[in-house]
């Protein structure tokens, strides 16, 4: 798994590549926490090169979404979710909890 964070004026774009499972999810959580601890609660997670995500990744997304939406201070949105991952998120009922965008420009522009 590889994570890169780009800070834009109105949001952070966090791109995660590779696979998120119980082994790598803590590192993914850490990248998300780094943004929220800096007071950045508007976050777009680019999944275009993510191959796999287990419920350990769902857990990290859920915790961050709760934190971001508190006091209406922001939101976490998902960008370019691969089909297989979207199907798993749907199965878990997670798609209703996150806005999704087809590309990062649209996601960054939404904030």
């Amino acid at each position: 798994m590889e994570i890169t964070t780009q800070e834009y004026k109105h949001c952070d774009l966090i791109k995660v590549k590779g696979r998120i499972d119980s082994a790598t999810a803590p590192e993914f959580s850490k990248a998300l926490e780094k943004a929220t601890e800096a007071g950045h609660f508007k976050i777009a997670v680019d999944m275009s090169e993510l191959e796999y995500m287990s419920s350990a990744g769902f857990r990290a997304l859920l915790a961050t979404q709760r934190n971001c939406k508190r006091y209406n201070r922001g939101e976490l949105v998902l960008v370019t979710v691969p089909d297989r991952i979207r199907e798993a998120l749907e199965l878990a009922g997670f798609t209703e909890l996150f806005k999704t965008f087809d590309d990062s420009i649209a996601a960054v522009g939404s904030f």
Binding site: R19, S22, Y52, R59, E87, L91
Partner: protein, 152 residues
């Protein structure tokens, strides 16, 4: 279940039944998913089905490592993966704490963000992704999880 000929069972056991032992650590989930993918691919499952099988196996193994072997190091996870006809059977055996799936509360997947519980999601996904999920606990041989998925 259709009747199986003895010779075909034996042949399948030799060629299609990788029986592998993994250290019960999250770092080996990659290898566990790879084993499942390899057997499923050879057995003719689609890529979509293979992803589901990998996810179910990952959730099962993660639960065993996190709960059955909670606080235990140097533990092992014994996995078999086998295709017979149109079905794949994955078994996982551990010697950790017994698991009672009836005690796992089904997560409310329609709850609001604030009420969403993440606990139990792994078991929920396993049941959704597989056609059969069975647990047996035996004080002598340990815990056995059996998961079956049919093609299509």
């Amino acid at each position: 279940m259709p009747p199986l000929h003895t010779y075909s069972v034996e042949a399948a056991s030799i060629f299609l039944m990788p029986n592998k032992t993994f250290p019960a650590q999250f770092e080996f989930l990659d290898e566990i998913r790879e084993l499942v993918a390899q057997v499923a691919r050879e057995g003719g499952f689609t890529e979509k089905e293979i992803y589901s099988l990998q996810l179910a196996a990952d959730e099962a193994a993660s639960n065993i490592i996190e709960h059955a072997y909670e606080g235990v190091s140097n533990a092992d996870l014994y996995i078999t993966c086998d295709v017979h006809g149109n079905a794949i059977t994955i078994t996982m055996r551990d010697t950790g704490k017994a698991f009672d799936p009836s005690k796992v509360k089904q997560p409310n997947i329609k709850a609001d963000l604030s009420d969403r519980q993440i606990g139990g999601l792994g078991v929920y996904l396993m049941r959704k992704l597989m056609d059969e999920v069975r647990y047996e606990s035996n004080s002598r041989t340990g815990n056995l999880l059996t998961m079956v998925k049919r093609k299509g």
